[in-house]
């Protein structure tokens, strides 16, 4: 499984990368914002899963998600929003925009494993 990890926080990327390593996933591509993620997605396909932060500078997670879902070649890429935005309205907004799943930070390695279907 190849994962694209998108978060502007280096700390959060490191935490999630360590969590992914803990569940046996070492094939991880990192991006610092939505714009960077668009480039990485294009360059590193096939990507199986995108772990996507919401609030980021330059291009936020929602804008990235909407762009990805307009492109048919990414239709099989699973997008999981990983964000501190936990209101029901935000969850529904993300799912409506094409997110496959939603995780509220902070989450445990066990929760991540479950969301990844491992």
């Amino acid at each position: 499984m190849k994962v694209l990890l998108v978060d502007d926080s280096n700390t959060m990327r490191r935490i999630q990368k360590n969590q992914l390593a803990g569940v046996g996933i070492g094939d991880v591509v990192e991006a610092v914002d939505g714009q960077d993620a668009m480039v990485k997605l294009q360059n590193f396909m096939p990507i199986d899963v995108v772990l996507l932060d919401w609030n980021m500078p330059v291009m936020d997670g929602m804008t990235f998600l909407k762009q990805v879902r307009t492109d048919d070649k990414y239709k099989d890429v699973k997008v999981i929003m990983c964000t501190s935005e936990s209101e029901k309205g935000k969850v529904l907004e993300a799912l409506k925009a094409g997110a496959n799943d939603y995780m509220v930070k902070p989450f445990t390695p066990e929760a991540l494993k479950k969301k990844l279907g491992l």
């Binding site: 926080s9 280096n10 700390t11 935490i15 360590n18 609030n55 209101e87 509220v104 445990t108």
Partner: protein
């Protein structure tokens, strides 16, 4: 400011430390902050806007902030630098994000949060705009004592 507005921030601070750092933090008695007392070395600050306006700040002694970020990164961080700022900023972001959802559910206040800012400096103090009251909650933990301050003006 209604003290009830502070409870979601206390709860989310406890939860963030438990989930991210596996440590139990204990809140002390909240106090109304009249001056800029209670100084620390590193503060993560996030602005709150929407149907209420203000900010939340998590403030730590330098050594505690270094210990926190070292644990988050699973790698020892010895100096104050970008890693420290990013780690404390992200911890504050998670506390604020989680609290605003709970606040919305409890009080119908819908808030937006800013990207985190981190202030580093020995014995700095966090002030707030005049007219916006601040409540300071001292916390104790096995890593040391720290402060969480919420200032919120409801309209």
């Amino acid at each position: 400011m209604d003290v009830a507005y502070v409870n979601p921030f206390i709860k989310s601070t406890i939860n963030a430390f438990k989930t991210m750092l596996d440590i139990e933090v204990t809140p002390g008695e909240p106090v109304l902050k009249k001056t800029s007392e209670h100084c620390y070395d590193v503060s993560g600050i996030i602005g709150l806007s929407g149907s209420a306006q203000g900010a939340i700040a998590l403030s730590f002694p330098k050594m505690m902030a270094l210990k926190i970020v070292s644990k988050l990164l699973e790698q020892e961080v010895k100096v104050v630098g970008p890693e420290l700022s990013d780690g404390i900023g992200e911890l504050t972001n998670i506390v604020a994000g989680s609290a605003k959802a709970e606040l919305a559910a409890a009080t119908n206040h819908t808030l937006s949060i800013s990207l985190p800012n981190v202030v580093v400096g020995k014995n700095h103090s966090v002030t707030r705009p005049s007219g916006i009251p601040g409540i300071l909650v001292p916390f104790s933990s096995p890593m040391g004592d720290f402060g969480m301050e919420v200032s919120l003006k409801t309209t």
